[in-house]
């Protein structure tokens, strides 16, 4: 197996353990902000309390985009510095991003059924989010089907960067695809009565996402450290 000499030396010591207290705190923050937002926001004339789904749907969507951005940053950084840890971090962000992406889609459908009467419409935002999900999934599939670590890291970086690059283009094209024939039908989140509740829920989701990514990254680093030790032992205890 030909290894390229250009990689930066990898630190195989695992990172500091992710604080469980931080994780529990993040979950508690979500509870608190949800309770606040649900109790404070008034009912809408048409749709009753359906607006309240926005407090989970919109933050989930924002976290999806943030995850994509993290994947982009660390994919590019890997292509530049060849530090394998950057690849592991990008992959962790991709997994968590796929999670929030799936959640966004499910919540979108749960909002859509009472609002539009059907489980799915080829609405610009929902459709774009579905395409994004497929991009995440394809990234994770690539990693599953490539065994060599360096090759997997190099290829993931390219695929991750390209995928992230495509996100705005996908949104633009799908939006044009829809709106040239129909006005957008997504819920408005601009009413000031809802903004504060939305923002604090978003912050709580952000804390949860940070915890998830860091924990996932820690696990990836631990696995890699164990593998490296096994390889070193196999090569004669260096």
């Amino acid at each position: 197996m030909q290894t390229t000499v250009r990689s930066a030396p990898v630190s195989f010591a695992p990172p500091r353990p992710t604080s469980l207290v931080f994780g529990i705190g993040a979950l508690a923050a979500v509870v608190a902000t949800q309770v606040y937002a649900i109790s404070r926001s008034p009912a809408e004339a048409d749709m009753g309390h359906l607006q309240k789904i926005m407090y989970v749907h919109v933050p989930a969507a924002w976290m999806t985009f943030l995850a994509f951005f993290v994947v982009l940053v660390f994919s590019v950084k890997y292509m530049w510095k060849r530090d394998e840890n950057d690849d592991l971090l990008a992959a962790s962000a991709a997994e968590v991003g796929a999670l929030f992406n799936g959640l966004t889609l499910m919540l979108g459908m749960l909002w859509g059924k009472p609002a539009w009467g059907v489980w799915w419409v080829w609405d610009a935002r929902l459709t774009s989010t579905l395409v994004l999900f497929l991009i995440f999934v394809s990234y994770l599939a690539l990693r599953a089907f490539v065994d060599d670590h360096q090759q997997r890291a190099r290829w993931s970086a390219a695929v991750g960067a390209f995928g992230a690059l495509n996100v705005p283009i996908v949104y633009l094209s799908v939006t044009w695809w829809r709106t040239l024939h129909q006005p957008p039908s997504s819920p408005s989140t601009l009413d000031p009565a809802y903004t504060l509740g939305l923002r604090i829920n978003a912050v709580a989701f952000l804390l949860v996402m940070i915890y998830f990514v860091r924990k996932r990254y820690e696990i990836a680093r631990l696995h890699r450290a164990v593998e490296h030790a096994a390889e070193a032992a196999a090569m004669g205890g260096r």
Binding site: M79, L142, F145, F162, S173, L180
Partner: protein, 228 residues
């Protein structure tokens, strides 16, 4: 003049790929046959109402192109993968981007020829009328094929060397091609109709932007993914 040597390399690689394909003529013929088969199946699945088929024509042609194109792209790297010829190719002195350019050229010719045949048969099978704006439709087709070949070649460089190339290439490629699919089909449909809202121009600009972005991105990232 370095540019001339580069261009010679590009042409050599393209010629090598195309000669391999032409000698085993079965390659091109079977890919085209598959494209036509998919068209027929789509006609059967979406028809027999002639109005429905005419509406579905553009989408059907593009789907047939995408599915058979995937085969073409994997094949373009198959020779190197199977015979281990990639390493020697990489050891030749000279910049690596010429390899990508050569592969792109070969795939572009291959896929363009295939698309021409699929479109011609699609026009007949789905009862499409040739519009006055047919040069614009041709431009949309060309831009779409360019985007398809750019990303198809680039992703095939990786997928063809992985464990599950048949499923991995479409899985990676198709979500990335959504802007091309959406743009090419919507613009074509508008042009086949009367394009009352003058959409086609906007879509053509989008396709040009997409092609430029990924032309630059693939050439920048190729060195990174071609290594063994």
């Amino acid at each position: 003049m370095a540019m001339r040597t580069h261009w010679r390399r590009v042409r050599a690689i393209a010629r090598k790929d195309l000669t391999t394909e032409l000698r085993a003529k079965s390659g091109f013929n079977s890919v085209v046959a598959l494209g036509v088969t998919i068209l027929v199946l789509l006609g059967l699945a979406l028809g027999p109402d002639t109005a429905a088929l005419r509406n579905a024509a553009v989408g059907a042609v593009w789907l047939a192109t995408l599915f058979s194109g995937v085969l073409a792209f994997n094949r373009s790297f198959q020779v190197e993968v199977e015979s281990g010829a990639l390493e020697p190719l990489l050891l030749y002195p000279g910049p690596r981007w010429t390899i990508l350019a050569g592969k792109l050229l070969g795939n572009l010719l291959f896929v363009s020829l295939m698309v021409a045949i699929v479109v011609a048969i699609g026009i007949v099978l789905f009862g499409v009328g040739i519009p006055a704006a047919w040069p614009s439709v041709l431009a949309v087709l060309a831009l779409g094929v360019l985007g398809l070949v750019l990303l198809g070649t680039f992703y095939a460089c990786m997928a063809s060397r992985s464990r599950a190339r048949e499923v991995l290439l479409p899985l990676l490629l198709f979500p990335m091609l959504v802007p091309v699919l959406v743009g090419a089909t919507t613009a074509s449909k508008a042009l086949l109709g009367a394009d009352l809202m003058h959409e086609a121009g906007a879509w053509i600009r989008l396709l040009i932007a997409y092609d430029l972005v990924f032309l630059i991105a693939t050439f920048m990232a190729f060195e990174h993914v071609i290594e063994n």
